[in-house]
Subunit: 285 residues, 2 copies
Amino acid sequence: MSARLLDGAGLARQLKAELKAEIEAFVAAHGVTPTLAVLQVGDDEAASGYARAIARTCKGVGVAFRAETLPGEASQAQAVETLQALNRDPQVHGIMVLEPLPAALDLDALLDHLDPAKDVDGVHPLNAGRLATQRPPFFVPATPAGGIRLLEEAGVDFQGKEAVVVGRSNIVGKPMAMLLLHRHCTVTVAHSRTVDLPAVCRRADILCVAVGRPEMVTGDWVKPGAVVVDFGTTYTDAGLKGDCHQESVAAVAGMMTPVPGGTGPMTNVQLMTNVLQAARQAVAR
Amino acid sequence: MSARLLDGAGLARQLKAELKAEIEAFVAAHGVTPTLAVLQVGDDEAASGYARAIARTCKGVGVAFRAETLPGEASQAQAVETLQALNRDPQVHGIMVLEPLPAALDLDALLDHLDPAKDVDGVHPLNAGRLATQRPPFFVPATPAGGIRLLEEAGVDFQGKEAVVVGRSNIVGKPMAMLLLHRHCTVTVAHSRTVDLPAVCRRADILCVAVGRPEMVTGDWVKPGAVVVDFGTTYTDAGLKGDCHQESVAAVAGMMTPVPGGTGPMTNVQLMTNVLQAARQAVAR
């Protein structure tokens, strides 16, 4: 048996083409171009690389991209001021703060100043709370939203299924657990303190892994026929690796997302979907 | 074997005495009396009874109680206006909206107008999100906060334990799951769509039930030695009943909260604790 590999790259291409047409229609109807501003403090290479990737994705679907950069020695007050200026700017619909920030800055305190209506990355606690309590409108972090979309397009049935989410980050694990719970899965959140993690994973009809430990999950952790969603992306000497050992997991699972080409490409397109949603809400106000 | 019954009524009495002294010291230090305002629309008997119970608890610990009542035919706009006046009133530190509201009013839309800094019942999505993402300050809904407190006082060890929460309400099940997750339990949320709920419950080292179905959980659903927390309170012909069948569960569990006298009394004292927290934050601003 060999798992069906869920082609996130292919689906992302299709969704981007659809989104490009939607954005063109939106621009034609409202004379407004959905715009994403990215705030970067300092010149961390990972942050710069991510900014370039986002700029490319924006260009591909017709979202305007604006880079706001502050020097690495900028103060917390300067960062807050720049963020608030973006909040006030009616031409900006979505805002992202790139990580990592310089060590002197407090990310959570900065994000408290982000307008929740422009929080297209779903990092403001108001969006986390609206998601948790199912009170729209809210923005779902792009990575779990993209993962769910990939499962939905593959026809995965959620209701009554045992889902296990490994990892409890605010940006992937917890929101993924909420998305699965709202689709009526029985949801378990496991993590580094979980006792006998392999046994907990083997309970899962739907196993989602977001821990950043390359190839941690092996085939013997997986229930035969399960759906496995791999959110891990770690660059190793052997290339980009997910949290799952692909060969052994694929031999047991019914479906799985590969790395690369699974959840990663879905994240970018979901971010663009969120920017369009923010622009729609802005013109409706 | 017979479970140790966790005496919530006794602990609540002790905590109330401690809280009364803390509140006296706060009043002496700041010349401000912590004040809870309760907004009731219409004259629903359950809401009125709850208001009277809250007023009694307030009196017992030295919190000032203010009842704001609107006629049953009040409009949504009138309810919002009254709530906003309470938000603005510097003498009010905590605000609760009593349920049920008349059918013509939209509770969630009303609660969006509640100042999160006065949301001592933890119902505003900003507080839900700050709890979920562990970004204080936030208010935890009184029922799960009281339940956790009862377990902590009983010396329950959380780390690495399998916790199962049955029920996924915004006010009990979901916040209880978060509190357990942050204490490093492996947490499963089960609900009405869960397949083989008894088997899922039997996995639990810590089983929390909040569904409002009297005596649903019987001893054969419980792992020997487990800690069982019963949040159910349903008035039946045979008296007040929890979600657990007390006799059969007590024969299997290691500890359990009785109904009455378990989590219920803890809820009231936790609400008062939240009002004092709100007053402290108000004088610190």
